[in-house]
Amino acid sequence: MKRFVAVTLGILTAIGGFVDIGDLVANAEVGARFGFDLAWVVGVGVIGICVFAEMAGRVAAVSTRPVFDLVRERLGARAALANLLASSFVNFLTLAAEVAGIALALELASSVSYLLWIPFTSLAVWLVIWRVRFETMERIFGLAGLSLVAFAVGFWRLGPDWGSVFHSVSHPVVPSGEGHATYLFYAVSLFGAAMTPYEVFFFSSGAVEERWTTDDLNVNRANVLIGFPLGGILSLSIMGTTALVLLPRGITVDNLAQVALPTVLALGKLGLAFLLIGFFAATFGAALETALSSGYIISQFFGWQWGKMVRPVDAPRFHAVVLVSLVLGAMLVLTSVDPIKVTEYSLVLSALALPLTYFPILVIANDPDYMHGRTNGRVANALGSIFLIIVLVASAAAIPLMIVTKAGQ
């Protein structure tokens, strides 16, 4: 059990990154529109985030430097500031959407409008950050988020024809009725969702919060190799259930209730109960991840004391940033702007900012002054280089595709 609990940082990071409110809906939407024809992107994204999260975790364990320190040390103050502004904006939009996402999950359980829940959900997120120890927090929300495995069970119970599923995953085509640009737009969004920078900000800062050392490199690898593929499997399961049930009926997905529908049909009330717990835990986890990340990266840029490992009075500016982000985020979603649209746009913006985060990680993971003999091996460097190119391409394509396709419509 102790060994299993050691990987909850990876699980929470991945759940927050792969199945937060925007991704829950985006995965379901992609399944209902494209079937299994975009599943390969999730696979590519999982490998990409594993490669870079492993490097970031290793750097954090060996040199005790979290990712945003590296960004500033290698890009310099000006480019790091540009990254800080872009990443903070994405973080903030995502945080606002997650605060609403928790409320949407509560609405499904209670049928009380999500807008009424928002003041309580944002207060609850803040209380957890204020009072709960980092390890306790990651265990509760990481493990509770696992109940989203109901999606995988639901997919299996829906009894897909495995042969044809494998065929369409391995031979993707652009479905008739969808343009190539739209297909590519969703591909970039899914890739951006898998690689959102706040995952490595959170993961590496979490590693520092837990005081990882060189002895924890195996824990790092286990976290990465269990957490992120698990997040990917959950994403694919959601896509699969909607591809099997909603696609044949021509249903397009735009809310959380529809995301659950195929699994509810397959598994009934018990399945619904698991999904509701999972929705709650995943959106809550993502809210914690983004709220903390906003404090982490601003503090790490300026060199302020940050973290939950010290008393709040000892990291006052860090806690002030988190508090202000939460208040502003709650105010944004209380305007009844569609939280799901908010995250869809933030995913595209995040694809744009990816290289500014992943490039410095790759450079420093090769720097013997930081790594003391734990620099990248050949495999890590080969994969890192390939994914750096993919990240650059996705970043360059993100905005043109969004304009051409009117954000995938």
């Binding site: 290698r74 890009l75 310099g76 790759l362 450079v363 090769n366 720097d367 013997p368 002054d369 003391h372 620099t375 990248n376 460097n381 080969a382 890192g384 280089s385 750096l388």
Partner: protein
């Protein structure tokens, strides 16, 4: 004077030929003793080269060899980098630093080791 006033400045030689931009400032620890630190660092010279991105990524040091995709082109670019010893600095302007003599007799900086 601040370090940032030197970084990125343009460097020209006595004949007015362009030498490049200041990539970095090399320090050596042989100044007067200060507090608990020991000998202070003093400026040894300027590392000057073509205005390229990536001058700050650390590929000037001998131990930085990966990944190939970055290391190969950056190490090649760093071969065109020159070292200007401080006694060659003739005038510090706002954005331009003039050096005495010709740029042709400048050597490459000695590569620093990594840990």
């Amino acid at each position: 004077m601040r370090l940032s006033e030197l970084l990125h400045s343009r460097v020209v030689d006595a004949a007015g030929n362009d030498v490049g931009r200041v990539h970095d400032v090399r320090l050596v620890q042989d100044g007067p003793l200060v507090g608990t630190f020991g000998a202070a660092f003093r400026v040894e010279g300027l590392i000057v080269g073509p205005a390229i991105a990536g001058a700050r990524l650390g590929y000037r040091r001998s131990g930085m060899t990966g990944p190939f995709l970055l290391a190969a082109p950056l190490r090649r670019l760093h071969r065109r980098v020159k070292f200007v010893p401080w006694d060659r600095v003739a005038e510090l302007g706002r954005d331009t630093i003039s050096i005495s003599g010709s740029a042709d007799d400048l050597d490459e900086p000695e590569p620093l080791p990594t840990a």
